[in-house]
């Protein structure tokens, strides 16, 4: 708990505008100026690039499948569903959930088969992902606080089911700052089909300063306002920028102690660097053909190709020093359930036969590519969705309703013990039964891997030292390597 006396100190470090004391260019954006990640001789302060203790992970890739991707159809095999298909769910025969009444149990439309050396039973809908099971730590006993998509997505991204809180990427940006001064610290890549439920709140800075918000960029969507306006020649641009720099330096020189004026000059320099680097990162021309094939960027399934390009872009961003990448596969609730995202209320089989092929190969390729480049050593990969689905069919349909009481998330990479399955739902997949795990515990573990103490990483806001893990949390040590 920070004492109230820390308020001024927090403000000092929290806002670039007031917190600059002759810092260099990169620190303006909370850059990493202590080179050795494990050097703890310098005390942690927000954005210093220093963790609280030696970190396993330097950067994070968070893949998000919005719409509540079904745990029992993708990740957690439930033989009992096959046995009892068509029978009522014992003890909850008259269950009413988000959309209404539920019918009998429904088996997964696809077979599960053993994968990897661990022989973990895995959905045959995800043949490419099956290659990675030995590297993954599954959290099969996840629980959420809400059964509604918007609050659910926001909960899994911010640790709070109401809007206005900082996302995990924003917290990471605040805690650790940037690894590069050429690219944003935190990037969100929405799907070509649109934004996830609750849209931009998913990558919001909440009440943290605006610089911790994710920059939106995707293969189909360049960073806004990145390019020099049409009709402005390179020479004119140089003229304008030169004059601006002269104005700003003259103004600042008369107020030498006002550090935010220096920061502003630096911000324009950084913007110029970003204008050089961002188009380079989005230009895939240098990627060899086998890489394109690996990801499936050339697929004639347009949705798959678009997502594959975002996967490839994610690797390039991470490689070039982006600290946190928030990558989406699918979008929001449309006029037809399950059409644009994983929300298979009525026609699970058809819906997932569209979504799985989009997700499977490109995601698996991204993991393979990161592994081959040695990046898994210090990159933490998260797979998330807002909650799970019911083991029953919705009455009169062949789909599943929302289930916040049990579902799967997973992580792999830096510091994670692969081939782990932590926690489980009951025989049917209805409720987390063994080692129920909250989203807060999941993120306590994520922060731990980033070298951060989830109880110390806080920001005062309207009466509380707010945290990513709210007033909860516990590091799940069973998944640590």
């Amino acid at each position: 708990m920070n004492s109230p006396l820390d308020l001024t100190r927090r403000r000092f470090f929290g806002d670039v505008s007031t917190g600059l004391m002759g810092a260099g260019l990169i620190q303006l954006l909370g850059g990493e100026y202590v080179s050795a990640a494990g050097d703890l001789t310098v005390k942690w302060s927000p954005g210093s690039g220093k963790p609280h203790f030696p970190a396993k992970a330097k950067r994070v890739l968070q893949i998000f499948c919005p719409g509540a991707a079904s745990h029992m159809d993708l990740w957690e095999h439930k033989p009992m569903l096959e046995k009892m298909d068509g029978k009522p769910l014992p003890g909850e025969e008259n269950m009413v959930s988000f959309q209404g009444k539920n019918g009998p149990l429904m088996r997964s439309p696809w077979a599960f088969q053993p994968a990897g050396e661990s022989g973990k039973m895995f959905s045959s809908m995800l043949p490419h992902m099956a290659q990675h099971v030995d590297d993954i730590a599954f959290f099969h006993g996840m629980t959420s606080k809400t059964n509604t998509h918007g609050p659910g997505c926001v909960f899994v991204n911010t640790g709070h089911a109401t809007e206005g809180f900082p996302s995990a990427g924003a917290w990471t940006s605040y805690a650790l700052g940037s690894l590069t001064d050429n690219l944003p610290t935190y990037v969100a890549l929405p799907d070509v089909r649109g934004e996830p439920p609750n849209g931009k709140a998913n990558w919001s800075n909440g009440f943290l300063p605006a610089r911790h918000q994710a920059i939106v960029m995707a293969a189909h969507q360049p960073i806004r306002n990145l390019e020099r306006p049409e009709g402005v020649s390179a020479a004119e641009e140089r003229g304008t920028r030169g004059l601006l720099d002269f104005f700003n330096r003259r103004h600042a020189s008369m107020r030498p102690e006002e550090t935010e004026l220096q920061a502003r000059i630096s911000a324009y320099e950084l913007a110029a660097k970003m204008q050089m680097s961002a188009p380079e990162v989005s230009n895939f021309a240098s990627e060899p053909k086998h890489i394109h094939q690996l990801y499936g960027t050339d697929s004639n399934n347009e949705l798959k190709a678009a997502y594959a390009r975002n996967c490839l872009l994610s690797r390039r961003l991470l490689e070039r020093g982006v600290r946190y990448v928030n990558l989406y596969c699918a979008s929001r609730a449309s006029g037809v359930d399950g059409l644009l995202n994983w929300d298979a209320h009525k026609t699970l089989k058809h819906d997932y036969e569209r979504h799985c092929p989009v997700f499977d190969q490109p995601t698996a390729a991204l993991l393979t590519d990161l592994k081959q480049r040695g990046m898994l050593d210090d990159t933490l990969i998260l797979w998330t969705t807002e909650f799970g689905r019911m083991p029953t069919r919705q009455e009169g349909t062949a789909g599943r309703d929302h289930n916040p009481d049990g579902f799967t998330l997973w992580m792999m990479g830096a510091g994670v013990k692969g081939g782990t399955s932590y926690g489980a739902t009951d025989d049917f997949g209805r409720r987390a039964e063994r080692n129920p795990t909250s989203v807060w515990e999941y993120y306590s573990t994520v922060l731990h891997l980033l070298g951060l103490d989830y109880e110390k990483l806080s920001w005062y806001h309207n009466g509380l030292d707010r945290r990513l893990t709210d007033v909860h949390g516990k590091v799940i040590r069973q998944v640590l390597a």
């Binding site: 505008s17 954006l29 600042a252 935010e260 006029g335 058809h350 309207n462």
Partner: protein, 949 residues
């Protein structure tokens, strides 16, 4: 510089003097008083974890029932050394750290001795005595005390006293150009003109400055600037938030009400009362009722949930939002923290929270008509005869239809003979016909299976057309060059999501969602065909849902040119899909001309009167919220752990216990109606004995003038908030506010006429070492303009600012809705957006370039203070967005209009000063090489434009 926490904290340190005097257990002759001597330290040191909500380690120390439970050895009466409580709370060996508490201070020796004696004496714990976790502060906290008497009688006296203590002094007065810029921005959010500045600088009247302040306070721009501050505080947003985030187009009257009220200098006690209960005491007066739109000004989840547990939680979240916003905005209290348990830091009980829950329980987010009783009566009078006419016409129509139905039903047996084929099937419907050569084939819907009177809106997952002959193949495939057309539901940000191409993509799952009556397929070449097969839910086990809505009556037509059509098949000889479809078919076949005409006439008469009804002007509908009697009906309970499923003791609407020592108390009967509950709260918040509301308001005013409040956390005057830098000044200001009848304008005047406000902002190393943040006000703290000020300034100096006040707002995003809503920032901002930014329709969680980059608050929460960040994205947006280019053009034109040296003109417009020689030279060089707009673009990006000394 830190401000000490000591004051008000004397009770936190805790140990009562009496207990500390006893150093040895033997010193107790007899009779430890549990309530006075044991309870306080248990509450402070143990109950934080061992309360019924948290029950850490399954140990609860709240009541005798918990402690002396069967089989528990927590407390063994008469033997402390066998009691777990005593053993874990005291060191095993002297000098060791006891096992408990895990966090915080262990028992002192004196406390341990008392505990031992109490247990040894038999551990008397009165049954009715329940322990609660002690908050960090209590009712003696500084913020809850009555306003203190003032040692000084002017703002400067307080500031100077504070500075003297640190050996500091104020800066000399700011120069006049700086001062007028500071004051003008502060009160209006806009720059002064060069002419204003020149006049003020040259004004020898000793009252020139007070006159300036009076002029600015009288400007309508003042209400726009300070209204914007207040809209931040009351988390005013114009979309619902959450997943659907639907835009609210009729919330703006509240924004106008705020601006008007502030321009009118409406007393703030009245203003606050209107926020909480304006609809009660102002019923019938739209200008007062509108204030209560505050209650529904926040985000809420409107998705709907059939799960009753989840639905109850969502409703509780909605009320929580109102409770939190009320506490933060008016009282500087973080009441929301008492939702799950007693507030851990402030003396706000769990019960207090649920008293407010009862108070606001009837509030529902909604629109309702807002009009005077006269206007309402006039409308009702106009509608009365029309409604009567409507009733009579509807009866006529019903009668005619009834007669017809009865007659045609007798023909049913004839028809049934013709309906020889089975009903259409959503999973597979097939039509064969004599081979025909065709280039175009279309399905024309005559009735939907969900509604016989509507033909538009069917769905098709696949439509196949087979060639005739020996080896029939599906010739309607996208992959073979066929194309499909037909009106479809559309999504702007993902075109084709429901398009007709899905009907011929060879895949099931995604389907064509028609909004018209036909699906037309063009084959790649003229082909002889004899069969079509189509469906909306092929291979689906369950296909009853509306997702699979299908044609019930239809025809298949072919064409060579897509213009002249020929019917080749139809479904009229199929059995009807329902009784109502049957009736529609019978009527279609059997009704006489006369019958049809009579029904048609009755229908058109009815439509005519409907049009007349629609033509009576509607009362303005405003996002004001409705009041639900059912929701407001008690009894209300505490929700243990915040869960509506765990009801605790009953509560009624009541005053907050926090201020029970200073402000009057009330506790309403359970049957008091919800209007009375809100009225009581409204009156209590602004009661003359309530010191908190006045302090909070005075502090907000100070905060906006100086950039930091006397308390730097304007929404939180509790333990977690900041301590006042000048507590006596705060009370002085609060009293002045009260003396001035809660009017803001006299307070602005008093603050702005102080020397503290008028001093220069120049840095001073010596003072900076002592007080780097200038909290003691040895200088005026310089600041960056807010997002709104930046946009308004760019528009103003470019001569483009449109000062139209009020009415519906403008949008810097494109609004799209497909079930949920998407807000896409615009690449170009047209002249309709050139109004002041306070008139922007701020949707929640919607990034709008310049506004968001420069820290415009997200209106999900009450925002007591804006951040001030500096980022490269700001640079990109301000450099490259088309808005800057348009404004550079505007500024160039304004320069031309102004005449004289263009650089001098530009500097006067932007900075209200002449350029220095080097600025002139550098600027002219750029103008000569790249044109004037290149220069203007630099100027609009310059720091001087957006920073104030």
């Amino acid at each position: 510089m830190n401000f000490p926490a000591q004051q008000g904290s004397r009770n936190i340190a805790g140990v009562s003097l009496i207990t500390a005097l006893f150093l040895f257990p033997g010193a107790f002759a007899e009779g430890v008083d549990f309530e006075k001597e044991i309870k306080p330290f248990l509450e402070k040191k143990c109950l934080g974890c061992h309360n019924p909500n948290i029950a850490k380690g399954d140990v609860i120390l709240a009541g005798a029932g918990h402690v002396f439970a069967e089989g528990s050895e927590l407390i063994v009466r008469g033997d402390a050394l066998k009691s777990d409580l005593y053993l874990v709370a005291t060191p095993a060996e002297p000098g060791e750290i006891p096992e408990m508490p895990e966090e915080g201070d262990a028992l002192t020796d004196a406390e341990a001795a008392l505990l031992k004696t109490w247990i040894d004496e038999g551990a008397v714990w009165p049954d009715e005595l329940v322990l609660h976790e002690a908050s960090k502060s209590d009712k003696s906290w500084w913020a809850y005390q009555p306003l203190s008497d003032s040692p000084h009688q002017s703002i400067d006296a307080f500031i100077e006293a504070g500075l003297r203590k640190e050996g500091l002094a104020m800066n000399p007065p700011a120069d006049r150009r700086v001062l007028i810029r500071r004051a003008t921005y502060d009160l209006t959010g806009l720059p002064p003109t060069q002419e204003d500045v020149t006049a003020f600088v040259n004004d020898s009247d000793p009252d020139a400055y007070p006159k300036l302040i009076d002029r600015l306070l009288a400007s309508p721009r003042y209400g726009e600037r300070w209204g914007r501050h207040w809209l931040d505080v009351v988390r005013f947003g114009e979309s619902k938030g959450y997943e659907r985030n639907v835009i609210i187009d009729n919330a703006w009257p509240f924004r106008d009400y705020v601006i008007d009220s502030i321009n009118d200098d409406k007393p703030f006690d009245q203003f606050i009362r209107e926020h909480v209960a304006g609809d009660v005491f102002g019923a019938g007066d739209p200008e007062v009722e509108i204030g209560s739109a505050f209650l529904v000004g926040g985000p809420y989840d409107d998705v709907g949930n059939k799960d009753v547990v989840a639905a109850a939680q969502i409703r509780a979240n909605t009320l929580d939002e109102i409770i939190s916003a009320t506490g933060e905005a008016f009282l500087g209290m973080t009441i929301g923290c008492a939702r799950c348990h007693d507030h851990k830091f402030d003396p706000i009980s769990h019960r207090d929270y649920y008293s407010l829950y009862a108070t606001f329980s009837g509030v529902r987010h909604n629109s309702r008509p807002l009009a005077s009783p006269e206007a309402t009566a006039a409308r009702e009078a106009a509608l009365k005869p029309l409604n009567a006419e409507k009733v009579s016409l509807a009866a006529t129509l019903k009668k005619l239809e009834g007669q017809l139905n009865k007659r045609v039903r007798s023909k049913l047996p004839d028809y049934e003979k013709r309906w020889v084929r089975p009903k259409v099937s959503r999973t597979l419907t097939e039509e064969t016909f004599a081979p025909v050569r065709a280039r175009f084939v279309r399905l024309v819907s005559e009735a939907l299976d969900t509604n016989p009177n509507n033909a538009a809106g069917f769905r098709i997952d696949e439509f196949e057309i087979f060639s005739s002959g020996e080896n029939p193949r599906n010739v309607a495939l996208l992959s073979n060059g066929a194309t499909a057309t037909g009106a479809a539901r559309s999504i702007e940000d993902f075109p084709g999501a429901y398009g007709p191409q899905l009907a011929i993509d060879g895949k099931l799952g995604a389907r064509f969602v028609s909004t018209g009556t036909d699906l037309t397929i063009e084959l790649p070449e003229v082909t002889e065909i004899d069969r079509v097969v189509f469906s909306s839910g092929r291979n689906e086990e369950t296909f009853v849902h509306g997702k699979f809505a299908f044609v019930a009556d239809y025809r298949i037509e072919v064409s060579d040119d897509g213009k002249k059509w020929r019917e080749v098949a139809h479904g009229r000889d199929r059995k009807p899909v329902s009784a109502s479809h049957e009736m529609v078919r019978l009527r279609r076949g059997e009704a006489t001309r006369e019958e049809t005409d009579a029904i048609q006439l009755a229908k058109s008469n009815l439509a005519a009167v409907d049009r007349k009804i629609a033509a009576v002007p509607a009362l303005p509908s405003v996002w004001l919220g409705t009041r639900s009697k059912a929701d407001a009906k008690g009894p209300f309970h505490i929700f243990l752990g915040g869960s509506p499923q765990k009801k605790g003791e009953r509560v009624v609407a009541a005053s907050l216990s926090t201020l029970s020592e200073v402000a009057p108390l009330y506790e309403l009967a359970p049957e008091a109606d919800e209007a009375a509950r809100r009225s009581a709260l409204a009156d209590w918040i602004v009661d003359e004995k309530n010191p908190l509301s006045l302090r909070v308001l005075a502090n907000r005013i100070w905060h906006y003038h100086f950039g930091t409040g006397i308390v730097e956390t304007p929404n939180d005057f509790g333990y977690m908030g900041g301590r006042p830098s000048h507590p006596e000044l705060l009370d002085f200001l609060a009293r002045r506010l009260q003396e001035n009848g809660w009017k803001l304008k006299p307070m602005h005047r008093e603050v702005m006429l102080s020397k503290a406000y008028q001093q220069s902002s120049t840095w001073n190393d010596a003072a900076g070492k002592v007080d780097g943040e200038s909290r003691l006000l040895w200088r005026f703290p310089p600041r960056r303009l807010s997002a709104e000020e930046i946009r308004d300034t760019v528009l103003a100096v470019s001569g483009q600012l449109d000062l139209k006040m009020g009415g519906p707002g403008f949008r810097l995003y494109k609004f799209m809705q497909d079930n949920v809503c998407t807000y896409e920032p615009l690449d170009e901002h047209g002249p309709e957006t050139y109004r002041r930014a306070v008139y922007h329709q701020n949707a929640r969680a919607s990034v709008v370039d310049l506004m968001t980059e420069f820290d415009q608050a997200d209106c999900s929460f009450s925002t007591p203070k804006r951040s001030e960040t500096t980022t490269p994205l700001q640079a990109l947006t301000l450099l490259n967005h088309q808005f800057t280019m348009d404004m550079a053009k505007g500024l160039a034109a304004a320069i031309g209009k102004r005449g004289g040296n263009p650089v001098t003109s530009a500097f006067e417009l932007a900075y209200q000063r002449a350029p220095a020689a080097e600025e002139l030279a550098q600027s002219e060089k750029v103008i000569n090489e790249h044109g004037i707009e290149a220069f203007c673009r630099a100027l609009l990006n310059s720091s001087e434009l957006i920073y104030l000394d």
